[in-house]
């Protein structure tokens, strides 16, 4: 019997005429592709096409190609579907994968276009005129009070209203990724960048390492079903607290950090023994209803001196009604995670087939909250494959207050989207706890990469706003009139609340 029916997905080709025989590829590969016997000899079966060796080869003599095995044509049984069957026949296991949904579902963002001013109202040049990206996340007052300033003028009255808001200099946050799923150096990079950018990183469900305390004013601490690392100290350090109900890549299921990834440092931060599996139950067992959610929101507020508390959910069919319940339960923001969102590990069947696109979720939730007259009670943060500043602008125009980026931020640190986070051997040193790999990311360098990315997107967002003839991101928020669709059907346009181009 063959050991496996599955043939290597990639072919590693080395031009030995150019090869220096320096062995750097051997050293760089986290998957153990290379053996060295006078020259590097690759084992194609282990290659994940992460390009670490390619990037670091001084002779540029490595190329990775697709293994162009011909499969008998069958649109129904794609090679991927056949491989999945073979793998499960071999193992009897639930297929485990990582990063976002790669299937060719309609990318709605790519069917939406933005407006611009021409002739009748002038566009604005953001290089020479003020262009406000400042964003406040949290409960907004129902009305604005005005009081005398004592000098014959007026000023806005002090109220409870905006006090508990998070202030962002740009409407882009870093999405929750736990220490354990990513390395401490990644967490440090994110925290340092968040502080420099005037935005927030999010601990995910893995606790807050002491090295991040200096950045705690730019950290949102997460409380998920496993309650790892959650104690009064943790709740009081964060700028805000987030209850994680669901994740776009794996709606409705729990998390499972394998014992291999629970080293001493991760164990200390999560407050669980080394080497045991960190199992997050699928639901929070103290939340079986909206009333229970309200109870937890206010427990967290009581325990933290009334910090903002947000709730993160996966975008699912009934997302609008669920979000309405969350807002009525007292959440300061609702974090919507679309089905293309990334993950450090998820069953493939869940990642690829459960949940709905973020574009639809934003539109449905924003509309529902407006219809109910409670849109100002909470902010909406959208995530789940925000790939560019154009996606940011479109998400905000559909009704989001801000977006969160996970996959894009990891790409800024070198991620090549090889979908192998769950192996714990990330050659780029991102989703691993192996010291020889994690040291590949210098937090100072990482922070600069992330800062650059968000700065670049923010500048582009300003350019887009200028073209739209508005001088604040506030003016684009929920302004679907500035969007048109191309190639979406009538039903979809209705759901999104946008007109087709030409109308």
């Amino acid at each position: 019997m063959p050991t496996s029916f599955i043939q290597p997905e990639f072919k590693v080709k080395i031009d030995y005429d150019k090869c220096h025989k320096c062995g750097r590829c051997v050293q760089q590969c986290g998957w153990g592709v290379y053996n060295f016997n006078e020259r590097p000899i690759p084992d194609d079966a282990k290659c994940r096409a992460c390009h670490r060796c390619v990037t670091y080869c001084p002779a540029h003599c490595i190329s990775i190609e697709k293994n162009q095995l011909a499969y008998r044509d069958n649109d129904n049984w794609s090679p991927a579907a056949r491989k999945a069957v073979w793998r499960q026949a071999e193992t009897g296991g639930v297929l485990l994968t990582s990063m976002g949904n790669p299937l060719p579902y309609t990318r709605i963002f790519d069917h939406l276009v933005l407006d611009a001013c021409q002739v009748t109202n002038p566009s604005i040049d953001p290089l020479r005129e003020p262009m406000e990206l400042r964003t406040f996340i949290g409960h907004k007052p129902d009305s604005v009070g005005v009081e005398s300033d004592g000098q014959g003028g007026f000023r806005l009255a002090e109220g409870e209203g905006m006090k508990n808001n998070l202030k962002l200099d740009t409407p882009i946050l870093f999405s929750p990724m736990s220490y354990g799923s990513v390395s401490l150096n990644v967490h440090k990079s994110l925290a340092m960048a968040a502080q420099r950018l005037g935005t927030f990183m999010n601990t995910g469900e893995g606790g807050l390492h002491a090295d991040l305390y200096p950045y705690q004013d730019n950290v949102i601490v997460q409380v998920a079903s496993g309650r790892f690392g959650v104690n009064p100290d943790y709740l009081n350090r964060g700028a805000a607290i987030e209850i994680k109900i669901g994740q776009g890549a794996k709606p409705g299921i729990g998390g499972h950090l394998p014992g291999e990834k629970i080293n001493k440092e991760v164990s200390g931060t999560r407050m669980i023994p080394q080497g045991t599996d960190a199992i997050s139950p699928a639901p929070h067992h103290d939340i079986y209803s909206i009333e229970d959610l309200r109870q937890l929101i206010y427990a967290l507020k009581e325990a933290s001196g009334y910090k903002p508390v947000g709730v993160k959910i996966a975008a699912v069919h009934n997302v609008a009604a669920i979000a309405s319940g969350i807002v009525r339960a007292g959440a300061d923001y609702v974090y919507l995670d679309g089905f293309k969102g990334g993950t450090g590990a998820a069953p493939q069947v869940i990642r690829d087939h459960i949940g709905i696109p973020i574009e639809i979720a934003i539109a449905a939730v924003d509309q529902r909250l407006r219809d109910e007259g409670i849109r100002n009670w909470a902010s909406v943060i959208a995530a789940g494959s925000i790939r560019s500043s154009a996606d940011v602008a479109k998400a905000i125009a559909l009704g989001a207050d801000a977006v969160a980026i996970g996959s894009a931020s990891l790409m800024a640190l070198g991620c090549h989207l090889c979908q192998s986070c769950h192996t714990g051997s990330c050659s780029w040193g991102i989703t691993t706890q192996k010291p020889e790999l994690t040291r590949r990311i210098d937090p100072e360098w990482g922070a600069e990469q992330l800062t650059n990315l968000v700065h670049a997107w923010s500048h582009e967002l300003q350019e887009i706003l200028g073209a739209l003839g508005v001088n604040a991101v506030e003016s684009l928020r929920g302004s679907r009139e500035r969007l048109r669709s191309i190639g979406l059907d009538e039903q979809m346009n209705k759901v999104l609340g946008v007109k087709p181009a030409g109308m």
């Binding site: 999945a84 793998r87 499960q88 071999e90 193992t91 009897g92 296991g93 639930v94 297929l95 485990l96 994968t97 409960h139 129902d142 079903s225 496993g226 309650r227 959650v230 104690n231 009064p232 100290d233 709740l235 499972h256 394998p258 014992g259 164990s267 407050m271 669980i272 023994p273 080497g275 045991t276 599996d277 199992i279 139950p281 067992h285 103290d286 109870q295 937890l296 206010y298 427990a299 009581e302 325990a303 933290s304 007292g330 069953p347 493939q348 007259g373 009670w377 979908q419 769950h422 192996t423």
Partner: protein, 273 residues
């Protein structure tokens, strides 16, 4: 519709600061009709001002008593019925309830002690990491779910009556004990179904027996050995001391021990791609 009602009656309570009477190290608070937020502000305020004993009179379902309180050598006495999520995230104090408690006692608790001289509700000690919860009477569903231990922190929960389904589900550490003695439901089984389902750490002791069909497939059921009982005895002695019960009577019936087969029940479930 405003999110919060104007000052006045909210959910049956008044949003006003309660009367606090200070006598030496003791602060006595009359909780009659006071909304939980103002009551808890008064409790935290009294502790911040140095009170080591806080007595709450006429408690009637106010939530979050002792929630998030981090303090050493502080005792809170609750006279009446404690509301949901008492001692949640608590780190250090002792709470003694002269009455019953509702749901969520000791939720995600870190350290300290909770003594309930009555019954308690559902979801006790969810994700509890340390400290002790001693309930005299019956408890509800989902008790001790995902209790976990870390280094010197070992959570202990002892319930004197019966328990319902999902007792010790997902348990990852700590000690969970059920006595079945002070129960209103003596004719019913000691514990419901799905006991220790998904358990991967810690230990459950039941005074009496349990059928295998009541337990999760992840747990092994054995009679507690002498060694087990010797290890458990100090905990039971402390419990009896707190609840005014006779240790010899507690020990007069053999205990059943439930422990997980594996610390990694789902280690072989996945096929990495």
């Amino acid at each position: 519709m405003p999110r919060q009602m104007a000052p006045g009656v909210t959910e049956g309570y008044l949003k006003v600061a309660p009367t606090v009477v200070r006598d030496g190290d003791t602060a006595t608070i009359d909780a009659t009709g006071i909304y939980y937020r103002q009551l808890n502000e008064a409790i935290r305020g009294a502790i911040a001002e140095g009170a080591t004993r806080v007595v709450l009179n006429n408690v009637n379902g106010q939530r979050y008593i002792g929630t998030g309180v981090k303090a050493k050598g502080v005792t809170i006495e609750v006279h009446g019925t404690a509301g949901n999520d008492m001692a949640m995230f608590m780190d250090g104090p002792t709470i003694e309830v002269f009455g019953a408690a509702q749901d969520g006692v000791g939720n995600t608790m870190n350290a300290g002690k909770v003594i309930v001289h009555g019954d308690a509700g559902d979801v006790l000690g969810y994700g509890m990491r340390g400290g002790a919860v001693y309930v005299k009477g019956d408890v509800g569903y989902r008790v001790g779910i995902h209790m976990k231990a870390y280094e010197s922190l070992i959570p202990i929960m002892v319930c004197g009556g019966n328990a319902r389904d999902f007792f010790g589900e997902y348990m990852a550490g700590g000690i969970l004990v059920l006595l079945g003695m002070n129960t209103q439901f003596a004719e019913q089984p000691l514990v419901g179904s799905f006991v220790g389902a998904g358990m991967h750490g810690g230990v459950i002791y039941l005074r009496g027996t349990v059928e295998s069909w009541q337990c999760g497939k992840e747990v092994g059921i054995t009679e507690a050995t002498e060694e087990d009982m010797a290890a458990l005895k100090p905990t039971l002695a402390d419990y009896c001391d707190a609840q005014g019960m006779d240790l010899a009577e507690v020990l007069s019936v053999p205990f059943t021990k439930l422990a997980p087969f594996s610390h990694r029940p789902y280690g072989k479930m996945y096929a990495p791609m």
